[in-house]
Amino acid sequence: MSCYLFRRNRLRWKFLLIAVGAGLAGAMPAVGHAESPPGSLSDTSPDDVAAEIDRLIEAQIGSPEKLAPRALDEDFLRRVSLDLAGVVPTPNDVTLFGLNPAPDKRAALIDQLLAGDDYAEIWASYFSDVIFLRATEARSRINQPVFQQWMAERLAENAPWDEIATDLITATGSVREEGSVALVFAHGGAPEELAAETSRIFLGIQMQCANCHDHPTDSWKREQFHELAAFFPRIQVRPQTAGDVRTFVVSSADDFRDNRRRFDPEQIFRRLDANRDGELVKREAERVPGIGDRFDQILANADADQNGSLSLEEFKTLRRPPMNQPGRGSAEYYMPDLNDPAAPGTRMQPVFFVTGESLETGALDLQRREALAESITSPENEWFSKAFVNRIWGEMTGQGFYMPIDDIGPERTAQMPEVLDLLAAGFTASGYDIQWLFRTIARTDVYQREIRTIDPLDAAPFAAASPTRLRSDQVYNTIVRVLGVENLAGQRTRRGPGANGPVRRDPARAAFAELFGFDPSTPQEDIVGNIPQALFLMNSPQLNALINGNADTKLGRILKEHDDDRDALAELYLLALAREPSDREIEINLEYIAEVGDRVEAFEDIQWSLLNSSEFLSRR
């Protein structure tokens, strides 16, 4: 009789009931806080802020029967492990957590997860998706692993969000070495794209509609968008070949001795024509970077008499370099003339639209970008804090105060704005301490409630947790955990050259992300999965080989270790869903096993069903 597990589980249930009871009792004193004035922030301890958030929400919802009860330990454990470590807990974790009688075990678990490496890894991958899934420069992929590593380091040392934002806005360097150039390189240094994305990511304000016209529904003017773009014209993104590795370097192009606005071919020609013979040859052109390496092309185009050199007349036939060439670096930024796209456009002064802070034209690249970063991250600018809070709150609870989570700002209406204000004020006061925010949100009752299907028309937001779809990395981490393999490619993780070389990206993880990845700024209700994903989970030969119950697989081992079907079932459910099967599920599965008649085959089908279930792909 191998009923040890069964007995252990029964014991665990008893503890679970006690824990639930304690949770309910613990909620009672919270009512006593009602005297403190709403929205006040005496200190920024996560516990106090979490309690105040719950008080505000409960007061707003009014009737307590609308609130979902506190989630079971096993649900909380799976949820918080996925959120803060990117993977489901092991069966052992589930049992131990259930058995742990400490009343503050949830808070302790949150702290423990935030201190782990997995926290940094999973959120680095999240921010990588935020930036790169909107990339307009396709080659920016080469920076992705470098960024992820950099971001993970920053998160592990709990660098404040304003520092990270400043790094991303002001970065320079080689894209194969410097992770922080991610945002700039993802858009090839293009000022308009950087204006749009900087505003979207750091302020949650979608300015890009104002690129071509005044914003159709908001009060943003076209000029304001282009004034924001005017912080970025001097960014230069140039290819560079070091050895046999091709890379790109993000730098500042501040050397504009001959202002490109006054394009004077005669002056340039005189400067290039070193020997003053009135003919420009390659040797002379080579002295000037940027012209020398293109000289053959220039020659092919402009050398009318085909004598291998350019006269002044031939040189003048060259087109004047157009304005706003992304990544080439331009002294100033010009707002295009919509009626005449060929015209130089209007020179714009850098002005930050939220506060009106401005710079003079002529400012150097880093002066511009640093000034912008300073304005954006200033505590005076409420949107910096609110954008981040809204994003993380939306990720953690499944519902943003504003939705979509990256479309906020003064012209949008938030649900329960006083809760957002409170949390944003606390986040700002904490010095933009990212772990403070995670800790505070995870400690709220809102976060710890049972899931319910949210009706968007119901006026009681945040009364329950909402089941959301897992991101690609979370699913992948969980699949390899459940199948007991290191990766789905069937290889060991390899490192690049050198003992400390960068970890080679697991090719199966990358392919999986191609299939299961989605832009994390997408509203949850738009993320519904697609046929190729379902086909992969149903029919991928790789996956099916790994659930072969007769081979040395995780399932094979479980079946060997547990000859009692109920035990094996419990183990499979704990492994895949981090919970035990319900009585009903046990009944369905036992019936199925009897019906199939072949134990191994039936269990393969059960594991297949668990991997293909909606619960497996969801945060509950």
Binding site: Q206, R294, N301, D526, L535, N539, S613, S614
Partner: protein, 425 residues
């Protein structure tokens, strides 16, 4: 109240409580419309049975109009590209398009397309959805929108198949997401089961029963959408219709005419899918972003696209499919009249061209013209909305049909646009 009627039709196949309430909150007289529902859905079903379809030949990167269907051999902007005669006297197109030239009597060229978006991502989005990108709403691809209107509910294959990546269904959701095929000519990845069919079905039965537990734990909506997805996917897996993906029954000579390359195979797959009842197939040709070496590169691309396109139109015609299938050749914009110092052409949305065939389009005509230097539209400018409205006319889809965005905003299939009457005259 025509609005009510359209609403009722669109709500019919996927009348969830939420969507119904959105419509109601959008000010639709729900009670009245519901009474018409069955009547209208009968008419919609008739439309579905007609099997109207579209094949989009997408030239990703922005094809040069000068090196395709609007050559300017007599102007320096035309570069070295020569013009060739076609089966229709007076219509000349660029060299390299000899096979397409043979079926010019089926093709209408629009040489006066004009637009403002000169960025790949934005313009590709616009030419796929009819809308310029906006942060607040993810517009459905036009393909998804017409699939919703036209798709045969009884077909096992996805309504919208794309050979190569494309824009998705946006807020229309999982039913109208493109099914992306990367290796035309082969059964798509993971369509074949790893276990015998009866065991696969048995597994599906178990999964279905187990799903209820999670639904009962508060994830009703998630489970419902998951079940719908798995229903659709398993229908595909178990269907005989997947043999449309297999070319083994196609005569080798015909396969050769389409071309032994990704685009050629994609076009043959498109024909087979439309024949099997698929509503929308997109076939993508990459590499038209010719900032450098424009002439050499467009020549190489035409060598693949031209035979495939010419063969596709002829093959559809031979099989009697062309009448109900509109073929549209286009990219996100055109290219600059001036050749740049790298012998390339840059992005140019101000004047570009599109080719259409089938679906009731009168072939053998040219609509609009550009100036001699190709820099401007000289005659009959056609906006993106006009093109989309015209394609709707061919497909008999109401361009004013409104879908309700998740935030409750009604959005027409085509924002604004006037049908190009000459196309059908």
């Amino acid at each position: 109240m025509p609005l009510c009627l359209h609403e009722a039709v669109s709500l019919r196949p996927r009348l969830t409580r939420r969507r119904f309430l959105y419509s109601a909150s959008a000010g639709i007289a729900a009670a009245g419309a519901l009474n018409f529902r069955d009547l209208m859905s009968l008419q919609a079903a008739d439309l579905r049975r007609e099997g109207r379809a579209m094949i989009l030949l997408w030239m990703a990167g922005g094809p040069s109009q000068f090196e395709t269907f609007d050559p300017k051999p007599d102007h320096e902007n035309g570069g070295p590209t020569e013009a060739i005669d076609t089966s229709v006297p007076g219509i000349r197109i660029a060299q390299g398009w000899e096979q397409t030239a043979k079926v010019m009597d089926e093709i209408a060229l629009i040489r006066s397309m004009t637009n403002r978006e000169g960025n790949h991502q934005r313009a590709s989005y616009q030419l796929h959805t009819g809308y310029v990108p906006s942060g607040s709403v993810k517009h459905p691809s036009f393909a998804s929108a017409v699939s919703q209107e036209l798709a045969d509910p009884d077909i096992d294959l996805p309504a919208f198949v794309s050979v190569g990546p494309t824009i998705g269904a946006g807020f229309l959701g999982v039913d109208y997401e493109p099914f992306v095929v990367n290796n035309p000519g082969q059964l798509p990845q993971n369509v074949a089961t790893t276990v015998p069919g009866d065991r696969y079905e048995r597994r599906l039965g178990l999964l279905d029963r187990l799903e209820d537990e999670f639904a009962g734990r508060g994830a009703e909506a998630v489970v419902k959408s998951h079940k719908r997805l798995y229903g659709k996917t398993s229908q595909l897996v178990l269907s005989d219709q997947t043999k449309a993906f297999d070319f083994s029954e196609e005569p080798q000579a015909l396969q050769d005419r389409y071309g032994d390359n990704q685009f050629g195979k994609g076009c043959l797959l498109a024909r087979r899918l439309v024949e099997a009842g698929v509503t929308f197939v997109e076939v993508r040709s990459n590499g038209w972003d010719t900032h450098q070496d424009n002439f050499e590169r467009t020549g190489g691309l035409a060598a693949q696209v031209d035979p495939a396109m010419g063969t596709l139109i002829a093959d559809l015609k031979d099989r009697g499919l062309l009448e109900r299938t509109i073929v549209v050749w286009m990219g996100e914009f055109g290219r600059t009249p001036r050749v740049n110092p790298r012998t390339g052409r840059d992005h140019y949305p101000r004047a570009f061209n599109v080719a259409l065939a089938g679906g009731g389009v009168r072939g053998g005509q040219v609509i609009g013209a550009t100036t001699d230097d190709g820099a401007q539209v000289a005659d009959r400018p056609v906006a993106v909305g006009d093109l989309f409205a015209s394609v709707c006319q061919s497909l008999q889809v109401d361009p004013n049909h409104e879908n309700i965005s998740p935030l409750g905003r009604p959005m027409r299939i085509v924002d604004k646009g006037a049908v190009i009457d000459e196309l059908f005259a």
